[in-house]
Structure formats: C-alpha cells, structure tokens
Assembly symmetry: C2
Homo-oligomer: 165 residues x 2
C-alpha cells in the first residue's frame, strides 16, 4: 500500500494495522520454529503447552470476526477446548498440523477483512457492547477490540518465548 | 474526557490511548499485588525476576519520551542494568521501593505527554527513523512507537502472570 496520499485518518489506521502484522507475524514465526514435540512441552513446569496457546490464540482471534460484526467465526467448535477449559495433558486436541494450518488461514482471512474497513467503520460499535452503551461510550468500537487482541497475542508470545529450547 | 464532540481522527487516538491505560494499568496492578519477596522470585526456573521486569519496563517506557521527541528520559542511568544486561541474582539493583515509585511517576508523566499530542502530531516522525526514511515510510511515526510499547508491556505481563503465587 502506498501511504503518500493517505489522509490523517487513513494513516492512523494504516499505522495501527501494522501492529497486527508485527505481533501476529512474530507469533507465527515462533510457532513455525517449534517442532511438534516442542509444541507438546510445557512452557514452564505446570504451565500451558504451546499447542494449547496456539489453539487459544486461534479461538480468540477467530472470535474477532463476529465481534467486529464482519461475519461468522470458523472455529467456534474449539472454544470449549481452548478457551473454556484450561490445558490438560489428557485433553483431546485436533491434530497439530490442522491447528497450524487453521492459524495461517485465519490470519489471511483477518488481514483481508481488516483492510476493507474505512476509518469511520473502525469507529463503529463492536458486538460486545449494546447500542445504548455505545452511544455513551463511543470508544467501545471495533478498533478497541482490534487493539485488545493485538496485545493479547503479544501477552501469550511473551509466555511462549520462555520455553527452554 | 467527553467523546461526544470528537472528530474521527480524535476518536481514533482516544480509543488508542485507552489501550495504554488498559495494559499499563493491569501491569501496575500486578506489580502492586506482589510482595517484595515475590518481586525477587524468578517467574519460572532460570527466568527473569519480577524486579528485573519492572526495571526493564521502566527503562523501555521511559525511553518513549525521547523516541517521541518529547523531552529527556528520567532513567537513562538504569539502561545498563535493565536493558543491556540480563537479570542476574548478584546484580546491584536500586531499592525496590524506589523502582515502584519511579514506575508510578513515569506513568503520570507519560499519560500527560500523550494527552497533549494532536492526531497530526501522533503521525510525526519518531526519533529512531531518519527524515529521509520517514519521507518514504510515513507509518514510522510516533503512534507506531506507542503501539509497539503497549504490546511490549503486555508481552512481559504475560510472563509475570506465570509466576506461582
């Protein structure tokens, strides 16, 4: 994207979207760097395994789509395993290769959706706030959800990077 | 701040500044919840102690001030200990009470500085990019530094929360 002719509003959004690329990109690189065995090894004694955090980030970022009122999520069926339940060594998980591919596919879908929103559309209501509350609190908009999920991804990347290699 | 009469640009910035409050606020609460003894206990075997992460976040967030070209940092003298060097149990650290107070004072200073910038000023060059490069890459602006430091704070909060309590 050329940024030469952007308005102030557009450049604010362009800059903000780059933070998604940056943190999700780093997180993807980190997952790619782990062998399947490492994916199944706790990041610290008694703590989550990377496979759980991959599924967790997949579910949380997938949920951005309905939260931004942009369509249906792809992975609502994984919420129970990766959001409602903690990690457990005896949990029945989807095949690792499938989770890895789902993560890549989700990121393509999200990047496409994000690029379609105008600055004014970014400031529209997100789905977790009522129209009544939004009228009083206009900062509870799509951009707020987006920013929260970027830092949530960074939060778990920090944990992933603690794993002994 | 009332948001009723804000322009699109202003509401984009207001929304973004709330992500600072959110993540730095959570991180402050977490540090406040730790006893001095817990601050000196590794978050996981062989990993950083919370006291080191407090100093590290203090130094990195303090450096935002010159990076945004808004003044001199307060804690350049701590860079060696908390940025250039890794955590070491025999490192000579400032008193914990002093670090805790510095963190609170810095957050007051940063919040005040951030609130003074207009949307157009947020899109001005940051100090880590040359004027020549910035002309070609206008997304390397103050907002980009800000967003990076929000998620960097979240990154380390994720690690801090792993500590057994």
């Amino acid at each position: 994207m050329t940024t030469a002719a952007l308005t102030t509003e557009e450049l604010l959004i362009t800059t903000t979207l780059k933070s998604w690329e940056q943190w999700v990109g780093r997180t993807s690189q980190f997952f790619d760097s782990l062998s399947d065995e490492q994916m199944l090894t706790e990041i610290a004694p008694g703590k989550n395994r990377p496979v759980y955090l991959l599924g967790h980030l997949l579910v949380v970022n997938d949920a951005i789509i309905p939260q931004l009122r942009l369509g249906e999520p792809n992975h609502a069926d994984l919420r129970e395993t990766f959001l409602d339940q903690p990690d457990r060594s005896d949990a029945k998980l989807p095949p690792l290769a499938e989770l890895r591919q789902n993560w890549k596919d989700l990121n393509v879908r999200l990047t496409t959706l994000f690029a379609q929103l105008t600055p004014v559309e970014w400031l529209e209501r997100h789905a977790l706030v009522s129209e009544e509350d939004f009228a009083k609190e206009p900062h509870r908009n799509r951009l707020a959800i987006f920013l929260s999920r970027v830092s949530h991804t960074a939060y778990h990347l920090g944990q992933l990077r603690l794993q002994p290699k």
